[in-house]
């Protein structure tokens, strides 16, 4: 074995080998893979080999598309066949919600460029003659399907071997029967990996260890929220009906997915493979893979699969006459949200993860492609937030991960509503006033482990979401919360905000080197600042407040905690001139906003609140009621007069009670996250993570006023200069969508010009309850960014007119924000 390599990939499943292959494609030939037994031995060898292009996520969709394209050309490149059966795949719908899901997906597919068709029952029958379309009595009636002609299934072991061959052709070396027994980070930042075959030192390590993700993570001192769940599929004997159909010249049938009955079905040697995603599948190996588990399987549990098998037999009667050869029951890695973990490990330099793949065969190509890009170039080529390992925080305990992974497994085929909130592992992280909000009717959602009130059900209204792709049961209540905020005064509990404290003589200069805007140098000033990638894309968004000399308070999105913490930590100067503290848990935050907010706050503090004493975009450390040390920031995300009150967490109840007592006469009430979404969209406020990602620069995001090209160097500045010289390729616009009946834009919808070409993509949208307009926020090509431009937006399969309107349909001149106290 070599003693040194640029990259060591640990794990010889299809994902690890693909990572190795793609590193060589980026020109890094000094790369090595270590496999404890033999290639494919973990989960790859028993994978069913399906390649579904369907995925609701823009990121994961691109990863899958790349894989399918790559696998088609691999045999020619490597000389190794991969048995790619391009059968297409057919996803059946038996109800409107399911059809809505497919139609919503079509928007994503359009923007990624994945070919698909929505087809009718008679077209289904033509494509899939052995199907029973259902009578609506004994079997659900099929109302349509989503058809992908380009995907199908592949032989996972052959695919791995082709990637291995390609990697070796590029200079990579693979050592099998080589088990990692210890790791150590050297002062240089390199890793020394100890194995049963000796030691190897490398610049970067990639963990692609599948079932072993957690125990390998422990070796590196990190917590990896990937725990496998049992997945079973049934292998059928020869099917007489299928055989007859094929012998009569029928094409190989498309992979069939009846999502509403939660199974997939494909041909296998004149027989079938049937794989359900059932209830009750247990997580395995939460404490590590035991010694007895080699290239092994678990015993099948047919009872658990019965409802799905019975449903499948009704849909495909040929299954009834077909013997069951075996049940393959093996561990498949899962994560709490079902997406893999691809990217840097939190808090460790030169350590990368490619773990948690539940659809590893489909994702292997794309994940290797982007991870290699990330390692070699320092950043990925596409927005990877949906799969970034740092989207999870310290809260992913073993039991939480087990509960969420099992939940994800049984929900693989449920309808993925945009407003879906899953119930397991909750409540976990709560604001101190959780119980009070609960008594006020909060209908909870969860993000990054935090409970957040999506909306508040008034007395007599059921505290329950009827999830939908369209306007649904909470619509009017969210509207009332919006009006409360705009007309009177409301409180949003945003305790989940990520909060960092940056102190020291070097703090200002250091922060300035990280972000595109000028960091405030006057005490009490606030600036919205964006940290960019080297390529100029938006990596992070911080609200930076100067609290005192050499003391900054840095606030960012709750779900960005680890992304931001990791970014700040890894960029800290070595000279000790800056200290960084994550104080997320020690401060809470209530947003107090609305025209009456000043009157409420005035009752609780002696600090003057008029515009002269406390102007917009400034902050003061004030007392609220009897609570001290409250950072009052005159900013908010809803576009009203208001303050964000960031208080020491122990005052949460005191401040909450004081605000309500003081606010009663002004009609104060709670406002939820969904109302905030409507309010911010009306103000064209961009949301980090959806509207603002590494895919776009601040110029594309039309955030020019937050970029100070004249202030000196910062990360990404050179790329911005180039972009200015070459021309900004996209612009962020606000669109008014006309003719909406019940389905507003929600993000991920394509925008078409008059000729029907895709010219942009909506990243957010909502109904503006106060403006009374359905609004989309979108990136479009600059020639379509002029106010008044008419485009079309596709919402759930229907084209609607979308007109570019000036930014901030609500209060475009920001009068509300700047409103002064009555004289």
């Amino acid at each position: 074995m070599k003693s040194h390599a640029r990259v060591v990939v640990i794990g010889g499943g299809v994902v690890g080998v693909s990572t190795l292959y793609h590193l060589t494609k980026k020109g890094w030939s000094d790369v090595v893979l270590l496999e404890r037994t033999e290639l494919t031995a973990g989960s790859t060898w028993h994978a069913a080999g399906l390649l579904p292009l369907f995925n609701m996520s823009y990121t994961v969709g691109q990863i899958h598309k790349y894989s399918v394209d790559l696998y088609k050309r691999l045999p020619e490149e490597t000389g190794q066949e991969v048995s790619f059966h391009v059968t297409g795949n057919l996803r059946l719908a038996t109800n409107r919600d399911r059809m809505d899901e497919y139609l919503k997906y079509c928007g994503t597919a359009n923007t990624i460029g994945v070919p698909f068709e929505v087809i009718s029952p008679s077209q289904i029958k033509e494509l899939w003659p052995l199907i029973d379309l259902g009578d609506g009595v004994n079997t659900d009636k099929v109302i349509g399907a989503l058809y992908h002609p380009d995907d199908g299934h592949i032989a996972p072991v052959d695919l791995t071997m082709a990637l291995r061959k390609g990697a070796r052709m590029g200079g990579a070396e693979i050592y099998e029967q080589t088990e990692v027994t210890g790791v150590q980070q050297l002062p240089s930042g390199e890793w020394k990996i100890t194995t049963n075959k000796g030691e190897i030192t490398c610049e970067h390590v990639v963990c692609a260890t599948g079932n072993y993700a957690r125990q390998m993570g422990r070796m590196f001192g990190i917590n990896v929220p990937a725990i496998p769940v049992e997945h079973q599929y049934i292998v059928y004997d020869e099917s007489p009906e299928l055989k007859a159909y094929r012998e009569a010249g029928g094409n190989e049938l498309a992979v069939l997915r009846e999502s509403d009955a939660q199974y997939y079905l494909r041909e296998e040697r004149n027989g079938w493979i049937l794989g359900p995603y059932e209830k009750g599948a247990p997580a395995r190996f939460a404490d590590g893979v035991p010694g007895w588990f080699g290239k092994s399987l678990f015993e099948g549990d047919l009872d658990r699969l019965l409802p799905h098998v019975e449903a499948a037999m009704k849909r495909v009667p040929a299954l009834e006459t077909c013997g069951i050869k075996t049940i393959v029951n093996g561990p498949i890695s899962y994560t709490p949200d079902g997406n893999p973990l691809i990217g840097p490990a939190f808090g460790k330099r030169n350590l990368w993860l490619n773990e948690g793949h539940s659809f590893g065969v489909t994702a292997a190509g794309g994940s290797g492609w982007q991870l290699a890009e990330w390692i070699v170039e320092g950043e990925p080529g596409i927005d990877m937030l949906a799969v970034d390992p740092r989207r999870y925080g310290a809260y992913t305990s073993k039991r939480y991960t087990v509960a969420k992974n099992e939940e994800t497994y049984r929900n693989v085929f449920t309808v993925h509503f945009p407003d879906e909130e899953r119930e397991d592992g909750r409540p976990l992280k709560t604001s101190p006033v959780y119980d009070k909000l609960d008594r006020m009717g909060a209908v909870w959602g969860q993000r990054y482990g935090w409970e957040r009130a999506n909306w508040y059900a008034p007395e007599g209204v059921e505290r329950h979401d009827k999830w939908s792709f369209r306007r649904t049961n909470y619509f009017e209540h969210v509207g009332n919360e919006c009006r409360l905020m705009r007309d009177k005064v409301g409180i949003i509990d945003l305790t989940a905000f990520t909060k960092h404290e940056v102190c020291g003589a070097g703090a200002e200069a250091w922060l300035d080197s990280l972000v595109a805007n000028k960091v405030p140098s006057k005490i009490g000033r606030i600036a919205l600042c964006h940290a960019l990638t080297k390529r100029g894309g938006i990596h992070a968004e911080f609200t930076i407040t100067k609290i005192a000399d050499n003391h900054y308070y840095v606030v960012s999105a709750g779900a960005a905690e680890r992304i931001d913490s990791d970014f700040l930590q890894k960029n800290l100067p070595a000279d000790g001139s800056v200290t960084l503290r994550n104080i997320t848990g020690s401060r809470g935050c209530f947003v107090l906003a609305g025209p009456n907010s000043r009157d409420v706050l005035k009752k609780l503090t002696d600090s003057p609140l008029d515009n002269k004493s406390f102007p917009w975009l400034t902050s003061q450390v004030i007392e609220v009621g009897m609570a001290t040390d409250v950072y009052a920031l005159r900013v908010n995300f809803v576009g009203e007069l208001g303050w964000e009150l960031h208080f020491p967490i122990e005052y949460a109840h005191h401040i909450f009670d004081q605000l309500f007592a003081a606010g009663r006469e002004f009609g104060i009430g709670m406002v939820g996250i969904r109302a905030m979404e409507s309010l911010r969209v009306e103000k064209s406020y961009r949301m980090w993570g959806t509207d603002l990602t590494r895919d776009n620069t601040p110029f594309e995001a039309s955030l020019d006023r937050f970029v100070r090209m004249d202030k000196g160097d910062f990360i990404g500045r050179a790329a911005l200069e180039q972009q200015l010289a070459a021309g900004v390729p996209n612009r962020f616009v606000t669109l008014e969508v006309q003719g909406v009946v019940d389905a507003d834009p929600l993000g991920n919808e394509p925008l078409f010009n008059a000729k029907g070409a895709v010219v942009g993509r909506a990243t957010a949208g909502y109904y503006g309850h106060v403006t009374g307009k359905s609004i989309a926020l979108a990136y479009v090509k600059p020639e379509y960014a002029e106010v008044g431009t008419q485009l079309e937006i596709q919402i759930l399969g229907e084209r609607k007119r979308a007109v570019v309107v000036p930014e901030s349909p609500y209060d475009p001149e920001n009068r509300k924000l700047r409103a002064d106290a009555a004289a």
């Binding site: 399987l297 009834e320 077909c322």
Partner: protein, 249 residues
Amino acid sequence: MKIFAAVKRVVDFNVSVRVKADGTGVDTANLKMSMNPFDEIAVEAAVKLKEDGKASEVIAVSVGPDKAQDTLRTALAMGADRAILVQTDGETEPLAVAKALKALVDREGPELVFVGKQAIDDDCNQTGQMLASLLDWAQGTFVSGLELDGGGAAITREVDGGLERAKVRLPAVLTVDLRLNQPRYPGLPAIMKAKKKPLDVVTADSLGVDLSPRLATLKVVEPPKRHAGVKLSSAAELAAKLKDLVEAA
């Protein structure tokens, strides 16, 4: 005519097993288990005879742990009419199993007993022969062909030199070999039906049989590991190498 088909629950043929660290046996905890493949052939043979109208009832029998009920359910799904488990958590040595089966034969009165020629876990290849001996019945071993005709069975046996044809008088014990038939895979309807078929669980005590082991296992060791091979570039080199090896030996 009633027929017995004896089945054993064993580690699935696809699973590679590990020797326990203390050398007392093979670690079977958590492993995937299934019906001994030769016993599947036995069940298939019995079920076919019933389908051909040559048998009135097929009874699947097993000696083993409670979980062996799953194995018997598989036999029922394949077409056996009912099943009997002699439940024991101890070792099941061939002689003990043969005694238990004899007791069941005495109770149920079959005229033909099919067993697999051997179980793939211990490879003993003894139970059928011992059972025939205990019953004082005729036996046919390694059966790869079978015709029933008035009171007897014309069988084909796989022997080292080729095939041997023989006639066996009934009642008899037949141990079946790989090529006798291709066992069926039951479909879901048959599996569901099998759940409702009768399955008796009895103890060895109730049969008056002593299952306690007569053998002592001294030590179980893994086979020696295969050493890495050598790549040679030509046939001539291979010939020379072989010659060296022969001479060295």
